[in-house]
Symmetry: C2
Subunit: 351 residues, 2 copies
Amino acid sequence: MSEQVGKQSLHFANPPYIISSASVVGTKEGEGPLGDRFDMVGEDDRFDGSTWEESESMLQKIALHTALEKAGIRPQDLRYLFAGDLLGQSVATSFGLQEFGIPLFGLYGACSTAGLALTLAAMALSAGYADLDAAVTSSHFASAEKQFRFPLEYANQRPLSSTWTVTGSGAFILAGRRAYEAIPGNHHGKDPHRRIKITGVTTGKIVDFGIHDSMNMGAAMAPAAQDVIETHLKDFSRSPSDYDRIITGDLGLIGKEILLDLMREKGIDLSAVHEDCGIKIFDNEKQGTGSGGSGCGCSAVTLSAYYLPMLESGEFRRILFVPTGALLSKISFNEGQNVPGIAHAVVLESE
Amino acid sequence: MSEQVGKQSLHFANPPYIISSASVVGTKEGEGPLGDRFDMVGEDDRFDGSTWEESESMLQKIALHTALEKAGIRPQDLRYLFAGDLLGQSVATSFGLQEFGIPLFGLYGACSTAGLALTLAAMALSAGYADLDAAVTSSHFASAEKQFRFPLEYANQRPLSSTWTVTGSGAFILAGRRAYEAIPGNHHGKDPHRRIKITGVTTGKIVDFGIHDSMNMGAAMAPAAQDVIETHLKDFSRSPSDYDRIITGDLGLIGKEILLDLMREKGIDLSAVHEDCGIKIFDNEKQGTGSGGSGCGCSAVTLSAYYLPMLESGEFRRILFVPTGALLSKISFNEGQNVPGIAHAVVLESE
């Protein structure tokens, strides 16, 4: 049976399960509305790293260790890691995950990387290429500011349209059905939680609307979100009401408005089901986070700490998780290039 | 049937075919020993780009267009692109491939990215997730020097152990069996060339030998190559003599010696079959390229221009292609981090 659906989607013949996940965040995220839901909130944002890059590596390390522990499995039980981050040459991932000694597929999709990693991890499991694998992504406010904008010491002013990079890492352990049922320590087998499976994916294209402003990432990414959500609904012959929530990664307040407008132009009303992790994770008014949270870690920790539990409890039955990425580097931006976007959609369902 | 072999390998139940490939290189590569085998040698290294990053994007664009043309298919016939490069935030890929409008899996594996891209492209085809997809990688001497070392204008001296980043991009069009046989313009169907298939892969782990010298990448990457080649031979119960060639990506002269020594310590003699794309692509003595060529483009263009034709002609029947990557960024290096390595192995056979 072919699993190809439409032009860009897959409907998995053997939907893999998310058997555990973990979220590790910094202090500001801990003070936000989801603060008490994260697995770990750091005492400071250093996590014992001597540089911000090392701190970000520590986030990934702690997140993956925690997710493994929650699943009751050892690192060597994982066949593959699918992981990435926002830093140049993905150094947070290289230095954060090397001690696990697991074959690594290194990924780069800017802030859409959590979607990319879950997609490929699910593809590998449904095909039988692995029985257990993991998806890990991270971002860190201080390493990202240094990389993309200004060092913190410069204390530059931020326009209201700018987003606030989340300090956080989310790790997800995925299993094929057989492996899922064989895990003795699997907490899902012991308690009444519903099982969460990835039933399909829609992989995004690069979409360039000619945005030049690196302080307005929401506007750069909204067209890519619109494109992949519209394609997804068409490929699966579904409407927004088939989902309890359609959740973008880090469009923020401005990007959300643009997305809803763009969808309306296509005749699709997303307003009843749309949420955005970047809006969910901070209390923008109290926390001064501009348009909202952003970064590879934003969607990952929000999925782990907030949306997966809503699926486990049965409050949500099906959600579409759509991390969104802005494809720029400091060099491309300084050279006057546009900021194109990309987004990848993952269907999560409770059983 | 499970396709998992040993701890880290896959043996494809439905081996996909490489139906065409293309190599586009700069002037220095054109003057090297493989000069007349490349599909295109630029008149200068700019390829009409106004920045070096744009030039690298142009390389990818030309390579993919050329490979599509050789296969006789259109961009929209491809279901997925698997692509990456060496630059921070993979900007060569984002700006080089966006106009094709194909769903993109963005990858980062430093100079091992050609192996990573072929691996995932083959996995997607063997599983039936796609019928046609493509793998593309690139590097550019000038953009890489600027990113990792010094701007060209600085005219710094280079130690002999340093490698010379290849200006080049390789693109590969892959097809599942059904799609392969359905393509009318497929030149493989018309002429007596042998068909080339990817029969297996071994995915590498990050290996850190404590190398600190960014001017000696060969030493940083050799242990990762050793690890993945040894694992590969064990997983498939093969010996080096089962391969006509075992080909690393860009170890260069120094890395090659280290690899052969490390393998000897494990009781494996690789000397009769080992070759390295970084050594193959330049005439180091005449061209002053230090230890050899390197970069995401080095292994990709050498595979396309030299090794695939050797398989097509039947001179080689089975090769192991092992692109090697050094996991560093300018930031990680300046912060005193080690330079760990990673390598991914791909089995190519002629039918």
